[in-house]
């Protein structure tokens, strides 16, 4: 079973520290980033499944970061963390491809729950991709060769 690997992105360092410690204690693999830029940087080297992304950040804000992540890593699920309780900002996030949104202050249990759901979604999606590939390979095993050639 593949383990859920999360990344927390927020400009509040203390929040990142405590929350990541908490999540690690609960058995999750967590890394943190203090800005959108850092998050994109870390995504390059880490295999992240779910990003918990703060909307309001100095520099690159949450929505821009979201768009970048979705463009570069479509398989990464993003959960928006908003201090603003408006449905609108959440809606715009969802429209840009976020899986879900959380309102600050978010309970750790809620974060975990939403992250798990997102992760499950990824897994379902990966499963589908796998089985589609399998079918393809079953039909013509030569494809494997072709693929390996590529």
């Amino acid at each position: 079973m593949v383990k859920l690997k999360m990344m927390l992105v927020d400009d509040e360092e203390r929040f990142l520290q405590t929350t990541s410690k908490l999540l690690m204690k609960k058995g999750y693999n967590v890394i943190t980033a203090l800005s959108g830029e850092e998050a994109l940087e870390k995504l390059k080297s880490h295999n992240i499944n779910v990003v918990i992304l703060d909307v309001k950040m100095p520099g690159m804000d949450g929505n821009t970061t979201l768009l970048e992540i979705k463009r570069l890593y479509p398989m990464v699920e993003v959960i928006m963390l908003t201090g603003h309780a408006t449905v609108e900002s959440a809606v715009s996030g969802l429209q840009s491809g976020a899986t879900d949104y959380l309102m600050k202050p978010a309970d750790i249990e809620d974060i975990i729950e939403k992250a798990e759901i997102a992760f499950a979604k990824i897994q379902r999606l990966e499963e589908k991709i796998r089985s589609a590939l399998m079918k393809k390979f079953m039909k013509s095993p030569r494809e494997i060769l072709k693929n390996s050639e590529n």
Partner: protein
């Protein structure tokens, strides 16, 4: 807002300008009219007098010259021998009297002034007139017309004497004429009430009777000074003022005076001026009254406008303050959420650590652990409470566009009522609805409007419970068409009511009368903001122990 002194000043300016502006042309027109009227009347009065004087003067002159020609005719038609014959003279006199009945007598004088023939009522033959003035004058100038005198006869008369030179032998014919005829002619002149005419000679002796007093032959001293000009108008400054017109007659020996009392002559002028004065006074009173009323009206309107402006200003200030407050609160809430998030995480972390410690039996069971657990739980509760507050603040201060669409009020309201019907029923509240069917749709975010109405319903239910407990509550929801298009929704409860002090602050954020923790004081301010965003208005009316009515006006969506 204008001050009391400003109003007094404005009132003064309006009053005086409104009074003066029409008064100046009015007075100007009146005075010009008065001037032309009086001068033309004066002119016509004076020319009338002049005409009377001239006409009558001519008449007297004609009379005198006629009489003179009567005598002259005799003088030239008959020889002296014929005239000195008593019978013939009587015959001639008879004929003369037929011609003109005022002849009294007829006499003939020789060049020495001896009366040589006479026909008349007196015995005058043989009398010597050689020294008399008239005789001397006729001898010198060939003719003489006397002033009027009484003579022996004691009746007013005058004489005309003419001289004839008959081959170096001069003789004179003289006739006496009663002045009755021309006295009447002059005396009968009537102009207005006091206008009259009379004749004086150069010595100021009245030659005709004067109607206003002054007997024949009496002296009229005052008139003497008018003897100089030919035709003149002057005013006599005695007890009465007169307008005069004079003309010389009888070769500048007599003066005919036509005069009229000034008061009488200018009666029409005086009457007109009195009328003008009355009209002016009446006009003045009317105008002052009207101007006063208009000024008061203007001031009243001004005050009303000023008040309305002030109200509008206050409303605007109130509205903008609400918006500012909302924005500030939203920013504040947003900032609070970040530390809240940290507290939340820390709390979770503490809770986790504590439970792990307990699990690992590193902490010995004691009451402190329970207290600690309780405290940690409390932190979580309070963070939750804070987050609820910030969420509400953020809702109030939201700036982003809500999802707007057409809302059919007549379907929408019953739906809302259905939601709260159960809660109302539980508390013994009867809901009456009166929704007009001709309502036009409004435009807005349906969930927001829902929030507004639910908020109002909840407040109403709370107020009813406060006053009535669980029975006797009544909630009336009304919706009707206003101004043919706008929608008015009113919600009246018979609850506890709101005191006037609180009513003023009812839409202010964070204002609440509920106990701590029961309400954030944001509900109504959020409602207010929503309705405002929809282009509507929200009003409240309340009376303690009677009830509260919230009224929402929404523009129709067309």
């Amino acid at each position: 807002m204008l001050k009391k002194e400003d109003y007094i000043k404005i009132r003064k300016i309006v009053f005086t300008s409104m009074l003066l502006v029409p008064a100046i042309p009015f007075i100007l027109a009146l005075s010009i009219g008065y001037y032309y009227f009086t001068t033309s009347l004066e002119k016509s009065t004076i020319s009338n007098l002049k005409r009377v004087a001239k006409d009558h003067g001519q008449m007297i002159d004609a009379f005198l010259s006629e009489r003179k020609s009567n005598i002259s005719f005799i003088l030239h038609s008959y020889k002296l021998d014929t005239l000195t014959d008593a019978g013939m003279l009587q015959n001639i006199f008879k004929k003369l009297k037929q011609e003109f009945p005022a002849f009294i007598d007829l006499g003939i004088f020789n060049q020495d002034g001896i009366h040589i023939a006479y026909h008349g009522p007196y015995e005058l033959i043989g009398k010597d007139y050689g020294n008399k003035e008239w005789f001397k004058e006729v001898m010198e100038k060939d003719q003489y017309t006397s002033d009027i005198f009484l003579g022996y006869r004691k009746t007013p008369h005058f004489v005309i004497a003419l001289k004839k030179n008959d081959k170096g032998n001069a003789w004179i014919i003289r006739a006496t004429i009663d002045t009755f005829m021309f006295n009447k002619l002059v005396k009968d002149v009537r102009i207005g009430k006091t206008g009259e005419a009379y004749i004086i000679n150069k010595s100021g002796i009245l030659q005709t009777e004067r109607r206003s007093g002054g007997i024949l032959m009496g002296k009229s001293e005052n008139d003497l000074k008018y003897l100089n000009p030919n035709t003149a108008i002057e005013f006599l400054n005695q007890d009465k003022k007169y307008v005069y017109a004079t003309t010389w007659i009888k070769n500048d020996n007599w003066m005919l005076i036509a005069r009229q009392e000034k008061a009488d002559a200018f009666k029409a002028v005086n009457k007109a001026s009195r009328l003008i004065i009355y009209i002016s006074i009446a006009w003045g009173i009317c105008i002052i009254f009207a101007v006063f009323l208009i000024t008061e009206r203007i001031i009243r309107l001004l005050k009303k406008m000023d008040r309305e402006k002030e109200q509008l200003n206050q409303q605007l200030i109130g509205a903008s303050r609400l918006v500012e407050l909302g924005e500030m609160a939203a920013g504040f809430a947003h900032e609070i959420n970040n530390p809240l998030q940290i507290i939340q995480s820390e709390q979770s972390f503490m809770e986790l650590n504590l439970s792990e410690l307990i699990k690992a039996e590193q902490l010995k069971g004691s009451e402190f652990i329970d207290e600690l657990k309780d405290s940690i739980k409390q932190i979580k509760l309070q963070v939750f409470r804070c987050s609820k507050i910030t969420q509400q603040i953020l809702k109030f201060g939201r700036q982003s566009e809500p999802e707007k669409k057409e809302i059919d009020i007549k379907i929408f309201i019953p739906e809302i009522i259905e939601i709260i019907a159960k809660k109302a029923f539980v508390h013994g509240i009867e809901i009456k609805q009166d929704i007009a069917l001709n309502l036009l749709p409004v435009y807005g975010d349906i969930s927001q409007l829902q929030q507004v109405l639910l908020n109002l319903f909840n407040n109403a239910i709370d107020a009813i419970i406060e006053r009535h407990g669980v029975s006797g509550g009544e909630l009336i929801v009304k919706s009707e068409l206003k101004n043919n298009k706008d929608v008015e929704i009113s919600m009246s409860d018979n609850g506890a009511g709101i005191n006037p002090e609180n009513l003023k602050k009812i839409f202010s954020p964070f204002f609440t009368t509920k106990s701590v923790g029961k309400g954030t004081g944001l509900g109504l301010s959020v409602c207010y903001g929503i309705i405002n965003n929809m282009g509507g208005k929200m009003e409240v009316n309340s009376q303690i122990d009677v009830g509260t009515t919230f009224t929402i006006f929404l523009p129709a969506y067309v």
